[in-house]
Subunit: 341 residues, 2 copies
């Protein structure tokens, strides 16, 4: 198996998320990188630098994300730093809501338009790290599409909560969507299978009206779990994409039995789509020992999940969530081991 | 002139808003109450306790606001306090956005549905204070409707950013809307004229499809000022309420000349509506010395603004924004003095 990682991923160092109503240490930290790398070492999978064509990367990112949003990601923190009285994190209080949706001119107002929540901050290096994640995802896609076996992208920050024009849930550029778009650009029918414990709301939105890219997400029921306001079973796609989005929300703490059952539905749909390329948005946070601790999967369950994802298709595995625990690397090794067979 | 105030307004003591990306002291503080009271003393206007019928108040609040939202306002802080690891303010990070709008079951998820931003927190006493504000507004409405001259309600917390089902901008119950609904319930044609420096987005939403209540807001251009995502001139009402919402966004720092011109348009529309009862949502934050300091009005401009609002109609003045400065009381006295003639 091939794995890609770009060291700029470590340049994004957010400090705080909002928890308990206060600013508390975030757990989407640089420490995740080393833990995930330990998992790859366990399987003797070497890490390669993603050597993607910058113009191709830029083209794919621009096709997927809004120009104003990309400008904000790239230059927003410098603008913020130049403003008087600003702290080390670009965090706003006011965002668009279900009642108010307009795009203002003001910088703080635009920040509230382009950021979905008050925990997904921009800091020094966020853009470089987000771009590094995207590079890893594209490199993995290119390797898999070239027939070089399943490929893994150590993407950090993660991506599946990033909308076409909005950061959220610690995500900035949607890496799994980028891998899917790279495959779709070659005319392939693609499926994104998201097994992160949280709904892949950004990925869903990016492909919501597209028939060529099927999006499937297994996740803890959003009625009880982030992102709360999207990810329900009745969200099935729109327009030409009607029927090409499948949400499989699972009751919290339901363990692997629920995953096994949902995987049957997911795989049936992936087959029915005529899928030629599979992108797996791999969150490891359904683990019982994850800080989120809400689905109760054990280490060996990730091996079974990986095995279930072993299809005779070019397969790209993109890292999503999964937060620091002593077992984070072992979870990755279990999944990739199961996938490799 | 009659003025109403309920001392429970002082029970809401939020600590922080998000500013500069950090938690910093809020300025929607209890100190505002004393400053505003000084303004009334300057005019020798005594403060009366609002002696409204509790059942009538409850009926009006329930007709205007969503039941789930009211349950959250009333019981949310107690639920929050009973949760492990929560701080003194009910603040969430994730709210509904333009991309995700669903109502979850989870308490934190519901908090994100019912709160529009990360600065409008619930604390001990928020519900009692919000209800105290609503009582003052209703008492003032009843006095004005009974022909007892213009009536002022010292509402704190303010109300005009509160939607039917969402707190925001330091507002919880929409007091000006409540006064308007009390008048509309008697069959009157009502106009709400909002002169707060910020758009009255909650009031707009509550009446957006209603033809009987005209909503007019003069405010700093939301392209550059909170609430950023609503308050534009092309928002004119919907359905039966089409044409019954008038937004008059003003360039920042434009001073009284812009207000005078906008007031002509506002008053022409109020006349054309066949207005029988006038509700003034009185923010004092267009003042040059306000912490917001973005419109440049002087003290005497508030007297002129008050004089311009002097119409031969039952008139209810509901306090909205205006933040601690040594002149806050003088601004109120200037406006009410101008209104009384």
């Amino acid at each position: 198996m091939i794995a890609y990682y770009h060291p700029d991923s470590a340049r994004h160092k957010p400090l705080h998320r909002i928890a308990g109503g206060e600013l508390r240490p975030t757990f989407e930290t640089v420490a995740r990188i080393e833990l995930l790398q330990q998992g790859l070492q366990e399987l003797n999978i070497p890490l390669a630098m993603p050597d993607v064509d910058a113009a191709r990367l830029g083209h794919l990112i621009s096709a997927q994300h809004d120009a104003g949003y990309l400008g904000f990601l790239e230059q927003g923190f410098a603008t913020w730093q130049a403003m008087p009285g600003t702290g080390p994190e670009l965090r706003t209080s006011v965002h668009t809501s279900r009642h108010m949706t307009r795009l203002p001119e003001d910088f703080l107002g635009r920040a509230g338009y382009y950021q979905a929540d008050s925990s997904s901050v921009l800091v020094e290096g966020t853009w470089e790290a987000a771009r590094a994640s995207a590079m890893a995802a594209l490199a993995a896609a290119e390797a898999a599409l070239a027939g070089r076996g399943p490929a893994y992208a150590l993407c950090r920050p993660p991506g599946h909560h990033a909308y076409s024009d909005q950061a959220g849930g610690f995500c900035y550029l949607n890496n799994a969507a980028l891998a899917a778009n790279a495959a779709a650009a070659q005319g392939a029918r693609v499926a994104v299978l998201d097994v992160d414990v949280h709904h892949g709301n950004g990925t869903q939105q990016i492909f919501y009206s597209r028939p060529d890219v099927l999006t499937v997400s297994l996740h803890g029921d959003p009625a009880w779990l982030y992102p709360y306001h999207a990810g329900y079973a009745d969200e099935t796609g729109t327009g030409a994409g009607a029927g090409a989005n499948l949400n499989l929300p699972l009751p919290l703490h339901s363990g692997f039995a629920a995953y096994a059952e949902a995987m049957q539905l997911a795989l049936a749909r992936i087959r029915a789509h005529g899928t030629e390329v599979l992108v797996i948005a791999l969150g490891l946070d359904a683990y019982a020992g994850d800080p989120f601790a809400c689905m109760g999967l054990r280490i060996e369950d990730f091996a079974r999940l990986g095995a279930a994802c072993r299809l005779p298709l070019p397969t790209i595995v993109v890292q999503e969530g999964g937060y620091p625990s002593p077992d984070l690397g072992r979870l990755l090794a279990a999944f990739l081991g199961g996938l490799a067979g």
